[in-house]
């Protein structure tokens, strides 16, 4: 029973805080461009408006893909500890979260390619390639952390940082994870898969109305999973409220960085990730093996 309440709390937090912060980030980008910007609740309106329209579907795989995407991401989010709010204590293995996340990605990719539009296929191919780019350095830097603390449970990784934050102990790993985080979020300069001007917003090209709304929800939850993991692993012990504060800070930082950068080409993304962040991640792993941790 408590588990159900906790899962509901996690999901509702993801929904409200996630959508709010997306609105806030639009506001921030507007202010950087010297505009007034939309209200902070704009994304709630967008989601519900999209859900209220009468869309089109391209057959059962299109629908199923969206459901699998949203279902997979909801399942993933339930395993992410939000500070001291842990829905499944002891079962929040990092590998599970990362790979369960792939269910959502696969579902989305399948549904979108199922629409039969080549733009979405190109977008999906790019998204998967980008995943090959950012996932490797991210997993290595996180593995170094797991090796150091001898646990793969995210909440235990968080609780192990009593003396100081992992970010300070392993600065290189933290930087690598943050750069990978930008790729995961699909923020500029890594928004190649959804490039609206090149491939008509890529995977989403055939998404209308309800489908778009569900995908926006999925996107919100994904953001919560990705940043939530980073905050838990690198930014010290937090309770529910400090978690949200740290979350907001990281999200705004990512927004600020992305709002002033142009876009990479897809092979540049892979090359970049496999040169700089992967090298730094190996360096960090070497430091951990040698015991050079601050």
């Amino acid at each position: 029973m408590m588990t159900i309440i906790r899962v509901a709390a996690v999901l509702l937090t993801g929904f409200f805080v996630g959508l709010t912060l997306e609105g806030v980030s639009r506001k921030i980008i507007a202010r950087i461009q010297r505009r007034y910007g939309p209200p902070w609740y704009q994304n709630f309106i967008d989601v519900f408006k999209a859900l209220s329209k009468n869309g089109i579907t391209h057959g059962w795989i299109f629908d199923f893909g969206i459901l699998m995407a949203l279902g997979g991401v909801i399942a993933t989010l339930a395993f992410v500890p939000l500070g001291d709010l842990v829905a499944f204590p002891g079962l929040d293995n990092l590998f599970i979260i990362v790979y369960l996340f792939a269910v959502g990605a696969l579902g989305m990719a399948m549904g979108m390619v199922g629409s039969g539009n080549p733009n979405s296929s190109i977008g999906v191919a790019r998204a998967l390639t980008q995943m090959l780019g950012y996932e490797i350095p991210y997993m290595i830097s996180v593995s170094a952390v797991m090796y150091y603390y001898k646990t793969a449970s995210v909440s235990e990784l968080m609780l192990s940082q009593q003396d100081s934050w992992t970010l300070l102990k392993m600065p290189l790993g933290g930087i690598v994870a943050f750069i990978s985080l930008l790729g995961m979020l699909g923020k500029k300069p890594f928004d190649t898969p959804i490039a609206p001007a090149e491939i008509a917003s890529g995977p989403m090209v055939e998404l209308s109305a309800k489908y778009m709304g569900l995908l926006m929800l999925m996107h919100t939850f994904s953001i919560f999973v990705e940043i939530g993991l980073f905050v838990d692993i690198f930014l010290g012990i937090s309770n529910y409220w400090t978690f949200l504060i740290k979350f907001t800070v990281i999200w705004i930082l990512a927004t600020l960085i992305s709002s002033v950068l142009p876009r990479f080409r897809i092979e540049q993304v892979v090359k970049f990730y496999w040169k700089v962040p992967l090298g730094l991640a190996f360096l960090q792993a070497l430091f951990v093996l040698l015991g050079w941790v601050f």
């Binding site: 507007a30 505009r35 910007g37 939309p38 309106i45 408006k49 009468n54 869309g55 209308s208």
Partner: protein, 180 residues
């Protein structure tokens, strides 16, 4: 256009729709230049929750600037029919109203709303961004009141629109890239 009786859910939905209008602009005519200032920091369209979209599937407004030749009109109709309902059309500039300076051209159409239902026209050649924003506000009001019913009109009078389209564009007998 007749008012449509709305239930409570549709009223709520219309409130939401008026605050989040996504726009597809069809700018083969000359008005496209008026859009950048209305999007960027001078007039900032996004504060009304409006933004450009890449595909008709996600768009609420079809924004047509300037004249339409017979060849582009086909594309406009095709695109309009791909948009999910409810959908709104804004005709921008005199050319969509009555042909403008191209009123006697052999290649362009004169009145857009013979072919697709236009909810709102912006007259002028060119209308300035202020006029554009005024029009958007007007459209929002119409949506909130439930008056922007062009898409229902199109469904109800589909035969009339279709016959107009066929009269201007002709039946397509040979399906290849030169005839459609």
């Amino acid at each position: 256009m007749a008012n449509h009786e709305r239930n409570i859910w549709e009223k709520i939905a219309d409130q939401l729709r008026s605050k989040s209008l996504w726009m597809l602009h069809y700018c083969t005519g000359c008005g496209a230049i008026e859009l950048p200032p209305s999007m960027t920091s001078r007039f900032d369209m996004e504060r009304f929750g409006m933004g450009p979209m890449a595909t008709p599937r996600q768009a609420d407004i079809l924004f047509i600037t300037g004249y339409l030749s017979a060849k582009t009109l086909r594309r406009v109709i095709y695109t309009y029919e791909q948009m999910p309902e409810p959908k709104y059309v804004i005709g921008f500039g005199s050319c969509t109203l009555n042909g403008g300076i191209y009123y006697d051209s052999y290649a362009t159409i004169n009145r857009l709303d013979y072919y697709i239902p236009v909810d709102l026209y912006i007259a002028g050649c060119m209308p300035r961004p202020e006029a554009l924003l005024e029009a958007f506000n007007e459209l929002m009001k119409m949506i909130r009141k439930g008056e922007a019913n062009g898409w229902r009109d199109y469904k109800e009078n589909y035969d009339w629109y279709k016959s107009n389209q066929i009269r201007s564009l002709g039946e397509v007998l040979v399906h290849d890239e030169f005839h459609e």
